[in-house]
Amino acid sequence: MRTLPFVCLLAACAPEARRSAQVPMLATGAGAASFPAAGEVEVILAQALVTIADLRLESPPEVSLLSRLAPLRSAHAHPGHDFSGNVACELLGVWDLDLLGEPLDLGEATCLEGALATGRVLLSGDAVVVLEGEAVLPDDTVRAFAFELPLDEEVVGIPIDATIDPDDLLASITLTAQPATMLSWVDWNTEDADSDDLLTLSDGLLANTVPFGALSSSSWTLTPNP
């Protein structure tokens, strides 16, 4: 009986156990193969491929000792210090996604009960993003392009507004990549520096602007499907 007060204190301090659930994950590309870009340019995609890996969804961030007791590792950023919350859903793997093709079934993520706020996905490889096609300028000049991006970075902070409830499971969550947004920072008047009649990452500032677009969180969405 002497230990009863301490047992009660421990019970009061312990974090509630969070139930787990398996949630199907899908990935797809958004938009048509042909789309308008800034400056009255029409972009026509012939190929849009992305290799994605290790998808993680995060709870809303919080500063507290209890948040550090979550069973999955917490994710945080530096130097922005705009910390994401703890990882609440995780699906590890590597998938080749055709943004012009059918949605891809990634499998089931292991998730913990609770709110979701953001997501992140890894883009890693020598040609992890491949965007090829033509851009038709206002004067009908056609600029062929072939962008193959070597990357080893995560797309972070993809917003999602959803709740994992084992008693009312989501049918799935879809990760969508938007090639039109990825290419929205491209200056289609970039000089063809090597005169190969092809815009590549070797021309102008495309080695900066194309990866910038691919890694921008605005080029990706996460959608819960009830």
Binding site: E62, H78, H81, P211
Partner: protein, 260 residues
């Protein structure tokens, strides 16, 4: 009777813990007080701050219920180029362990001097600034001056390092300001580098002084900078402004959650 004695003793122990003093200080470290040397910049630049003013307000130590256990009043201006650390203030609080402190770096209408001069306080009020940085950046033999006023509004939620206020004693927390953070080439990536060349290159009129307007004319996408989840950051001034909200740390290198 025995059980009652134990329970009563426990309750008395909690209620009679006593009070102590929480001391809050701030420091800009060598990077602001002296210089950011070339070996810190990935592109070999170096920087000296002449002035680095910060407005600290809404300073509070939080209890376990998320309520203020102690507060330090006022909106105080500190010149971080002065050799520190500098005491911001103190508060009498219940003696116990604490794991959360808040403070805000934001423009305030009525300011008081921390260690800043009257003229500096007036200047911050006129600018409506939360952070004011003035100095010189040198890259590849070219030096540009700058005087930047940031009106960003940031509340920091921090976990002090091992803060336990003893009864009748004191313990302290430091609001550490990292002056190199304005020059990171990424907003969220852990391997972001400190760079200055893009800022020097932004001097479009070649007058040796880089203004807010000149920085606003530079696209971060063209620089290859990484904005992480902040797609709204499109130009170099917005990039620096965002980074002005990452300056505050706790007890040296401790990171804080920020309200954006």
């Amino acid at each position: 009777m025995h059980r009652f004695t134990i329970l009563t003793a426990s309750l008395l122990a909690v209620g009679c813990a006593g009070e102590g003093t929480w001391v809050l200080e701030t420091w800009g470290e060598d990077y602001i007080e002296q210089a950011i040397p070339a070996d810190v910049f990935a592109d070999g630049c170096d920087l000296v701050y002449d002035t680095f003013l910060v407005v600290d307000s809404e300073l509070a130590l939080m209890d376990g219920d998320g309520e203020p256990a102690g507060t330090i009043d006022g909106a105080l201006v500190f010149d971080m180029t002065q050799v520190g650390p500098h005491e911001i203030g103190s508060a009498v609080v219940p003696a116990t362990h604490y794991d959360e402190a808040h403070w805000r770096i934001a423009p305030m209408a009525a300011l008081a001097a921390g260690n800043a001069t009257t003229a500096q306080v007036t200047r911050m009020e006129e600018l409506g600034a939360a952070v004011y940085a003035e100095g010189a950046l040198t890259c590849g033999g070219t030096t540009v001056g700058f005087a930047w006023a940031f009106d960003t509004d940031t509340t920091y939620h921090c976990e002090p390092e091992d803060l336990t206020i003893p009864a009748g004693g004191e313990d302290s927390t430091q609001l550490t300001v990292h002056g190199d953070h304005l020059f990171y080439d990424g907003l969220e990536n852990e391997d972001a580098a400190v760079r200055g060349q893009a800022i020097v290159d932004a001097d479009a009129d070649g007058d040796g002084f880089v203004t807010q307007a000149e920085l606003q004319a530079v696209s971060v996408a063209n620089l290859g900078y990484d904005v992480g989840s902040h797609a709204e950051v499109e130009d170099l001034w917005a990039h620096l402004s965002f980074l002005s909200r990452t300056l505050g740390h706790v007890d040296g290198e401790g990171h804080c959650q920020v309200d954006l």
